[in-house]
Each structure stands twice: as structure tokens, then as C-alpha cells.
Amino acid sequence: MELTEILERVQDVFRDVLENEDIVLSPQTTANDVEDWDSLNHIQLVVAVEKEFKIRFTSHEIQSWKNVGEMVDCIAKKA
């Protein structure tokens, strides 16, 4: 799957979970750049991404991500 396609689907997940259609993600986006991306919503985002791509992350993987791009790379390896 292309990274751009993954990024688009991740963006859709973020818009749905955070109920904000204005969210635009790039590989460089971090939690500081997205309103409401707090620790509780982070759980919901990870759960929703795992469901969307029918994959499972490890806690080590999600703790290692520095930005959305690293999440997308991780998805690309699993999906």
C-alpha cells in the first residue's frame, strides 16, 4: 500500500475520532499540532487505526513514534 494512501486513511480516522473535518495530517505532524490529540484520545486513535488497517501494534512501537510519518511507516510494514 502506498504511503500517501495510508496517510489519507489515517487522516480520515483522525477526523472521525476527533470529530474535526479540518484536520490535515502530514508525515511531520505531531500531537502538538493537532487540537485534542491528548493522552486519552491517543488511545482511541491507536485503537481506531488498528481497526481500520486490521493490524496490531506493540506498546514499544507506539512509544517509538515521533510523528505521524513514523506511524504510517509502521502501518506500511504490517498492512
Binding site: 488511545i43 482511541q44 491507536v46 485503537v47 488498528e50 501494534f57 506498546s59
Partner: protein, 132 residues
């Protein structure tokens, strides 16, 4: 993780007079559908319909008291009410683990309540977190 995929839990609950009266005393929902027998019958029910959110109280008990560990917290829950529940109905609850998210220590259950006629009265999903 204290829970694994397909783990199933069953409980039985009764919507007793004490629970019904307590719910009204606490939350003050005295809508006639819940409190006026004739009103409820006039609208096609067999009698006073119990508040659907009493079932959410049973869900709270299930998550808080019936799982193998106490280190749990509810993240989200959704419920659909399918059929009315009446006073003193005995309800059979079944909760099954349908998703485990090890990465964020979260578990999702599907659940359903059936009445004594084995008719489904409510169903839904709950996602809980396992506290460190």
C-alpha cells in the same frame, strides 16, 4: 493482559423495586412512560417501562466488579435498546471480549441483555482500559 480474545462472562440481574425507585430518586426521571402504568399501556407497552439507563448501571457493575482484575476503567460504551424491560424482569447478561489492543492496554467487549423469554432487550459495545 488479564483478558484475552473470546473470553466470555455471564451475569444475571433483576430490575428490582429498589433499583427502580433508587434510580428515580437519584436522577429524577419521572417520565410517565416509567411511572404511569396506564400511560405506558396506552402507548403500546405492557406496563411501566424501566429506564434504559438502569442497564448502564448493570454494565458499570460488570466492568467494575466482575472482571478478573479491578484495575479497569471504561473508555467508551454504546448501547442499543431493542425491547422494553419491565419491573422485576430478570435479565441475562453476556459479555464477550471481541478485541484486545495490547499496544494501549485496551479491551473491547460486545454485550447483550436478554429477558427471561430470551428476547434481546439491549446490546452494545464497551471499551475498557487496563490500568498499569
Amino acid at each position: 493482559m488479564i483478558l484475552k480474545l473470546h473470553d466470555k462472562f455471564e451475569e444475571t440481574f433483576t430490575v428490582s423495586e429498589q433499583i427502580y425507585e433508587g434510580f428515580i430518586a437519584m436522577f429524577r426521571d419521572k417520565n410517565p412512560l416509567h411511572t404511569d402504568q396506564q400511560f405506558a399501556i396506552d402507548h403500546g407497552f405492557q406496563g411501566r417501562v424501566m429506564h434504559g439507563n438502569i442497564l448502564n448501571g448493570f454494565l458499570s457493575y460488570f466492568i467494575g466488579e466482575c472482571l478478573p482484575g479491578k484495575n479497569v476503567i471504561i473508555h467508551t460504551q454504546s448501547i442499543q435498546f431493542k425491547n422494553p424491560v419491565y419491573l422485576n424482569d430478570r435479565l441475562f447478561f453476556e459479555g464477550t471480549v471481541v478485541n484486545v489492543f495490547e499496544s494501549v492496554n485496551a479491551v473491547e467487549f460486545k454485550f447483550r441483555f436478554k429477558n427471561e423469554a430470551l428476547k434481546e432487550v439491549a446490546k452494545g459495545k464497551i471499551q475498557i482500559g487496563i490500568l498499569a
